[in-house]
Amino acid sequence: MQKEFLHVEKIEGPLLILSEVEDVSYDEIVEIKTRDGIKHGKVVQLYEDKAIIQVFETTSGLSVKDVAVKFTGKPLEISLSKDILGRIFNGFGVPIDGGGPIFSPIKMNVNGRPINPVARKYPRNYIQTGISAIDLLTTLIRGQKLPIFSGNGLPHNEIAAQIINQAKIADGENFAIVFGAMGIKHDDAHYFTKMFEESGVLERVVMFLNLADDPVVERIVTPRCALTAAEYLAFNEDMHVLVVLSDMTSYCEALREISSAREEVPGRKGYPGYLYSDLASIYERAGIIEGSKGSITQIPILTMPNDDITHPVPDLTGYITEGQIVLSREIYQRNIYPPINILPSLSRLMKDGIGEGYTREDHPSVANQVFASYTKYQEVLALAQVIGEDELSSIDKKYMEFGRAFEDKFLKHDFYEERSIIESIDLAWSILSILPKNELDRIEPKLLDKYYKG
């Protein structure tokens, strides 16, 4: 039925250039028959009778002579049913756990489609993670996309794991975790599997794994498969879904590789000019839809090359996501876990999900005060390094005491330590109360009178 085309003109990196093709549609998936089996690709450009195909697996070993290409006429689709829970797929959506294929009449295009803004419901319910710095200062909201900006060797996996362990994603059993791995190490994948097992959620987890030694180009569809599964679970099965995507930097590097193979005009640091739109097509797949009971909360993880937050990957991510949790190597080196640098960290959605009626009336002002006082502590710290701590004024000494207490008592957590959001707010008060009352200028007088512990 479907025609096979044999006329491969060129193979260039991950690209295959075919001529004399007909009836081919843009973005459709092709099957490439090679000596070592079937590979997959998709049409990325059409010109008269020529098609440029981006191959998801490696093209090494391919030759223009022994390749036959079959056009499927369809975009990439995956089969979905509730049976995906507990299963492991490769980055292309094919089961790799030996459990056999998913049989289902429901097949969804992995590219998804943009959610109509009028169909969205604004997320307003907080998720308690049990981690003080997150709950008080960058509160996670159900339906939010809140990435972790990390660096190589920093404990982002542990933090993600702790969130997964402790977060109350849903009231009952009505939740799922979708894990999309792009270019992460086997160790890391193993770490997550073990952790899911330990916390007894394994049968609620769907994994899409493209590991560090898997084909680079496949990475481009991995988060899309993961999010398609998430959309199915959230909007067809009414589940609250937490999606963890790691490492978005590897994903972007794969995109860069293809872009340069296609000789596109590069933007910053060689990344394609459409990186923003491409990342948006992933991150914007978080949210809540009016009239649907489920939700998709995303925690993408990325490693900042050279710990540089202005690098295009964190930069464009920050422009799309609803905040970020930024990890700091300097804090980690001082043996503080989780090493969250609170100042650049932000949760944009917390404003509508905290305070009176949600957490506690004083939560917003306490959070603001902590940011303001911690900024002041950083200034005093810098001064102390110049003139010596002994020379500081008495009020500045108070700030030193505040800053240290904040890091040791509030920021620092045990991996298994879970604090309720109210405990975290109270803890913040006890630390803020190290400072004289009139220094706390971000808190309304009546709250100050009520909660200040001096």
């Binding site: 549609s25 973005d27 109509n116 009028v118 000019g273 459409y274 948006a280 097509s281 930069d315 900024t375």
Partner: protein, 587 residues
């Protein structure tokens, strides 16, 4: 056969042959699904089309169909309170067709053709009408009378007026006879890339009052003026734009979400119908138009959304309204230009942006202005554009080129945002080019000495900045008391005045007279304290004064519609100082 034939497909850019009869900038339908597109270049028999919908599934050999007209929008009743995509398709209608997710191939839908409006006519048979003249109106919302105008370039004697009744927009409600007969409906169509004509431009003379202290007092925006809000991610561009959309004293607001988040549009949709306009006491949605082309929607339509927005703004201006348009973010629009230019393999200029970036930005901002409309009314379009510089670095091309064409620059500062000083508008690097033009207005309507006070306060902040350099090296203690006073007064200005809490019911919008009185209190305190210090009162004493903490919290403790609170505060401060002075003179 007059259809083009597709020969090339690359994302939103397609090329076709047999395009001789197409016009540059013509709107076309592409392929079997009739995707909407626009011709962006023609070369001999070949044409390039940018497609406003997802092109996946499109094939070589499918047709490109002409429409004979440039990319245009329908302008008529049914726009206000609505939310559109980048080419003026109502998102609610799209949802009816394709559910929660947006499909391609819905076709060119626009304002509701079936809704019936009660039309009130303003003219009679036999009258001669000029272009732009209103001949009827519709109560579009309780806030906005929608005037139905004779389109530009049309004029003539009225030969027919429909009876007073309800009509839908496709009904002919008026006929004009000139060299030829014109049948006028309730809407006009206008090509988005062409500015709508006006009689003439006036100089700027009125502020756009926003209720945001740092803007109204320090860096005022003008009616008919232009402003840019650049800042890295999370520094507060969208919040500031939302605040302006909520509280600025324009008659009509056009808010364009251009390549930004879906949830931010949802937030506006959920909040605005509940928020009450301080001037009219009616829900804000009654004057608001939303255009949403979020970051995950097709990139070419993002490019168009800016033009759709400004065209709608000009249309309401032509009725005599002051319109303010917020574009969040113009950088995403520039990136859409870059992306399409890249796919056309045009020669890139700086950072991959096309060489025409600067001229496109200029054309856009030049569509702002304080004008006399064709029908002789005073009206304006003000543009406030957010800019999202890559890496937060203001030296990049979009920020730099925008800076050339706008008069107000509200520069958002990452460090202020980190310490949650909101709005994070840096008072040293921001500016307003309208101060001298607005001087008269402020003198007449607020106070003779308002700008003088502003200047003095800004000077304190500048001096503080210099002193902080020293403090960083040696600490505050070594400074003499009069310099430490500057630091304290700067703190009063920063915390008591510049910081403004968008979530606080009272503080979110502050009228000018309160802004003025707040400044006056700070200035009073400064003068008295300086005098006291010269008399030997130590700075520590001053900082502990009740008046000092009263000023810090006056934004919360004194209501916007205050009575004698400022007089009382003034008296308390004066008394407190004279007591202190007495005790020191006594020594």
């Amino acid at each position: 056969m007059d259809n083009g034939i597709i020969t090339y497909i690359n994302g939103p850019v397609i090329k076709a042959k047999n395009m001789k009869n197409f016009r540059m900038r013509e709107m076309v339908a592409v392929g079997e699904k009739k995707l909407i597109g626009e011709v962006i270049s023609i070369y001999e028999d070949f044409g390039t089309v940018q497609v406003y919908e997802e092109t996946a599934g499109l094939k070589i050999g499918e047709f490109v169909y002409p429409t004979g007209k440039p990319l245009s929008v329908k302008l008529g009743p049914g726009i206000i309170g609505n939310i559109f995509d980048g080419i003026e398709r109502p998102l609610n209608k799209i949802k009816e067709y394709s559910g929660n997710f947006i499909n391609e191939g819905i076709g060119l839908i626009s304002i509701d053709p079936n809704k019936r409006w009660k039309v009130n006519f303003l003219v009679k048979e036999g009258e001669y009408l000029e272009e732009g003249q209103p001949f009827a109106y519709v109560e579009e919302t309780p806030l906005i009378k929608h005037y139905i105008m004779v389109p530009p370039k049309v004029k003539g004697r009225v030969t027919y007026v429909a009876a007073d009744s309800e009509y839908c927009i496709e009904d002919v409600i008026l006929k004009l006879q000139d060299d030829k007969e014109y049948e006028l409906k309730m809407y006009q169509e206008w090509p988005v890339r062409i500015p709508r004509p006006v009689k003439r431009r006036f100089p700027i003379e009125k502020p756009l009052i926003t209720g945001q202290r740092v803007i109204d007092t320090f860096f005022p925006i003008a009616k008919g003026g232009t402003a840019a809000i650049p800042g890295g991610f999370g520094t507060g561009k969208t919040m500031t734009q939302h605040q302006l959309a909520k509280w600025s004293d324009a008659d009509v607001i056009v808010y364009i979400g251009c390549g930004e988040r879906g949830n931010e549009m949802t937030e506006v949709l959920e909040d605005f119908p509940k928020l009450i306009d301080p001037n009219s006491n009616l829900p804000l949605m009654n004057r608001t138009i939303l255009i949403a082309n979020t970051s995950n929607m097709p990139v070419a339509a993002r490019e168009a959304s800016i033009y759709t927005g400004i065209t709608i703004a000009e249309y309401f201006r032509d009725m005599g309204y002051n319109v303010a348009i917020m574009a969040d973010s113009t950088s995403r629009w520039a990136e859409a230009l870059r992306e399409i230019s890249g796919r056309l393999e045009e020669m890139p200029a700086e950072e991959g942006y096309p060489a025409y970036l600067a001229s496109r930005l200029a054309e856009f901002y030049e569509r702002a202005g304080y004008v006399e409309t064709l029908s002789g009314k005073e009206a304006s379009v003000s543009i406030i554009g957010a800019v999202s510089p890559a890496g937060g670095d203001f030296s990049e091309p979009v920020t730099q080129n925008t800076k050339r064409f706008v008069s107000v620059f509200l520069s958002l500062d990452r460090n202020l945002a980190y310490s949650r000083h909101y709005p994070a508008i840096n008072w040293l690097s921001s500016y307003s080019g309208y101060l001298s033009l607005l001087n008269d207005w402020y003198r007449k309507n607020v106070s003779e000495d308002f700008f003088k006070l502003r200047g003095e306060m800004l000077k304190v902040l500048q001096e503080e900045n210099k002193l902080l350099e020293i403090v960083k090296l040696v600490g505050e203690d070594v400074l003499p008391d009069d310099q430490r006073l500057i630091l304290e007064v700067a703190r009063l200005i920063k915390i008591g005045f510049l910081q403004q809490n968008a979530y606080h019911p009272e503080d979110t919008y502050v009228p000018l007279h309160k802004q003025y009185n707040m400044l006056r209190m700070i200035k009073l305190f400064y003068d008295k304290a300086l005098f006291a210090i010269k008399k030997g009162v130590p700075i520590g004493k001053i900082r502990q004064m009740k008046g000092y903490s009263e000023i810090l919290k006056m934004k919360y403790s004194i209501p916007n519609e205050y009575k004698d609170e400022f007089d009382n505060l003034q008296r308390n401060i004066e008394e407190e100082f004279s007591q202190i002075l007495k005790s020191y003179e006594g020594d």
